[in-house]
């Protein structure tokens, strides 16, 4: 009954904390600049001659790989470093409410960042006649991908009070989730292992599950994959936080 008001209060504080420090603005500028650079220069948006945002979404996992851990690294490590975790968890909230609230706030922040890429949507619609359904699916996939990486960053930030360590750990874990489905890696793996084994390994990759969204297909299995990684990471965050205090 008191669950949602509490979650909203914590999430509101968390989200405003981003904007009360320069972090939010630095992040947004860097994200938008890089997204533009990847799409138009590396992705060859104009050279493709297609009315699609393929070049934009293809780079998303790589962009998120660096930027999402940067957003998530402070979630719990900062609370532990400043001792505010003691303040927060002795207020009438349960640990899971606090975890969900903080996660949702950061996710909302990433959603704002994604929403601010709207000029590319306008550009592609002005230049040609793209399938906007595919673009929407691409955005949904990107948001889920961001949430997945964020939940991992949330977990690593609960492990340490040092933000740099939290960042690097999150980055390594996210990189792993990308690489196991990255074409050059899977081809290399298929030289040593049977194809079914490579497939199983690749099915743990965010790339494999992101592909569908990029093509405009919203598959329940992909949805389920992203949501279960998030659920697992947040649950583990709870276990980690409880263990710190259990001694």
């Amino acid at each position: 009954m008191r669950t949602w008001p509490v979650i909203v209060t914590i999430a509101k504080r968390e989200l405003s904390a981003y904007f009360e420090s320069p972090v939010a603005y630095v992040f947004l500028v860097v994200f938008l600049l890089l997204a533009g650079f990847f799409t138009f220069s590396l992705g060859g948006f104009f050279e493709l001659g297609e009315a699609s945002l393929n070049s934009f979404f293809t780079w998303m996992p790589w962009l998120f790989l660096f930027l999402v851990p940067a957003v998530g690294m402070r979630l719990w490590s900062e609370e532990r470093r400043l001792g505010t975790i003691e303040l927060l968890l002795t207020m009438p909230v349960s640990t899971w409410q606090a975890i969900v609230a903080k996660f949702l706030a950061s996710w909302a922040f990433l959603a704002i960042a994604l929403a601010l890429t709207f000029p590319v949507v306008i550009t592609v619609n002005w230049l040609g006649d793209p399938d906007n359904g595919i673009i929407v699916a691409g955005y949904v996939g990107s948001l889920l991908l961001a949430g997945t990486f964020l939940s991992i960053a949330c977990l690593t930030s609960a492990l340490t009070r040092n933000q740099v360590i939290a960042f690097i750990l999150a980055l390594v874990l996210c990189l792993l989730l990308i690489l196991v489905g990255f074409a050059p890696v899977t081809t290399m793996l298929s030289r040593f292992a049977d194809i079914w084994l490579v497939d199983i390994i690749a099915s743990f990759s965010v790339l494999t599950h992101f592909e569908g969204f990029q093509k405009g297909v919203v598959d329940t299995r992909d949805l389920l994959f992203f949501l279960s990684v998030m659920g697992f990471s947040l649950f583990t965050t709870g276990v980690v936080l409880r263990n710190h205090r259990a001694g």
Binding site: T90, V93, G247
Partner: protein, 324 residues
């Protein structure tokens, strides 16, 4: 209102709190004293539900902290050690956050914020970000957060740490006033604070409760409690000693100074309880009058909490010389 039963906490093989039990009623201010690392903060963290207890039970206003944590936490206001707060927030938005976390909305919230801003004297810094504040203001901001929902139980971990003497005085009188209607536990290193504010004190050492009583009771445990110091004029050492030894409630007497018709004596009573000591001083006065000695000084020592604290928490060096 606070009931702690056989509470224990281990970190690995290290027993930080060992079978601690006590109760605090409404209208009581309990002072928690003990050397650094004796388990004060750990005990408080278990009472407030931050640390789960390894064994034992805490109940706050009838709610078991481990079984009904939310209900129990609603009743508690907590000022953690070193008064943490969200550095990048302004004082006002921090208080807004704390009020909303306590379920206060609208006019209720605004009046609660007005009240704590007034009690903690924060009016001039409301718009400032917390990390630009001085230590005293940071501390009071965190204290304001603890009392914003007018809790029935207050747990304050070193509430006067890092404050200047005026602020210390203010916080003490605040605790004293609030103590009339709430149950308060606070920890401190400053023993005079205990005497000034507490209705009861607990000395905790190496995770165990080693003394529990009113400040007066604890002081009476001092070995100097009840000692009568008397300085007499026109008397000789031998006669004073001779006359005083006749008093029934006298354990022994020691001459501190003597010469030129001036004798200074410390008289130790048989027991340090208040009445015996009083009667001892009275008897000495009677004898002095009868023998026609002039009394220059006559005083009964109350006993010092500091001494009790040291003798209890440093058993090897009975009332040691160095500061604890």
């Amino acid at each position: 209102m606070i009931k702690v039963e056989n509470l224990s906490k281990s970190f690995g093989s290290n027993r930080a709190v060992d079978e601690v039990s006590f109760e605090v009623q409404k209208g009581e201010v309990l002072g928690f004293i003990g050397p650094n690392g004796s388990g004060k903060s750990t005990t408080m963290r278990m009472i407030t539900g931050f640390y789960p207890a390894t064994a034992g039970k805490v109940s706050v206003c009838g709610f078991d902290v481990s079984e009904n944590p939310i209900e129990a936490k609603e009743k508690i206001g907590y000022l953690p050690e070193s008064a943490p707060s969200y550095q990048e927030m302004s004082v006002l938005s921090f208080l807004n956050f704390a009020a909303e976390m306590r379920g206060l909305r609208g006019e209720q919230k605004r009046s609660a914020i007005r009240r704590v801003v007034q009690t903690c004297h924060l009016d001039n810094v409301l718009g400032q970000t917390i990390d630009t504040l001085s230590k005293g203001f940071k501390h009071r901001t965190c204290l304001a957060q603890a009392i914003i929902h007018d809790p029935e139980v207050l747990v304050l971990d070193e509430p006067t740490d890092g404050l200047d003497p005026n602020q210390k005085h203010e916080v003490r009188s605040l605790i004293k006033t609030m103590g009339k209607t709430k149950a308060i536990i606070f920890s401190t290193h400053i023993l005079e604070e205990v005497e000034a504010v507490c209705s009861r004190a607990i000395i905790i050492d190496r995770g165990r409760v080693v003394a529990n009583g009113t400040p007066e009771e604890l002081k009476a445990r001092s070995e100097r409690a009840g000692v009568v110091i008397v300085t007499l004029l026109g008397a000789s050492e031998a006669s004073v000693k001779d006359k005083l030894t006749g008093i029934a409630s006298l354990h022994r007497c020691e001459v501190r100074e003597s010469g030129g018709g001036r004798v200074s004596v410390e008289a130790f009573p048989t027991s340090s309880s208040g009445i015996e000591a009083q009667s001892l001083a009275g008897r000495i006065a009677e004898i002095a009058v009868r023998e026609n000695w002039k009394i220059e000084q006559l005083k009964t020592e109350e006993g010092r909490l500091e001494e009790v604290f040291r003798s209890i928490t440093m058993p090897d060096t009975q009332s040691g010389k160095g500061a604890a």
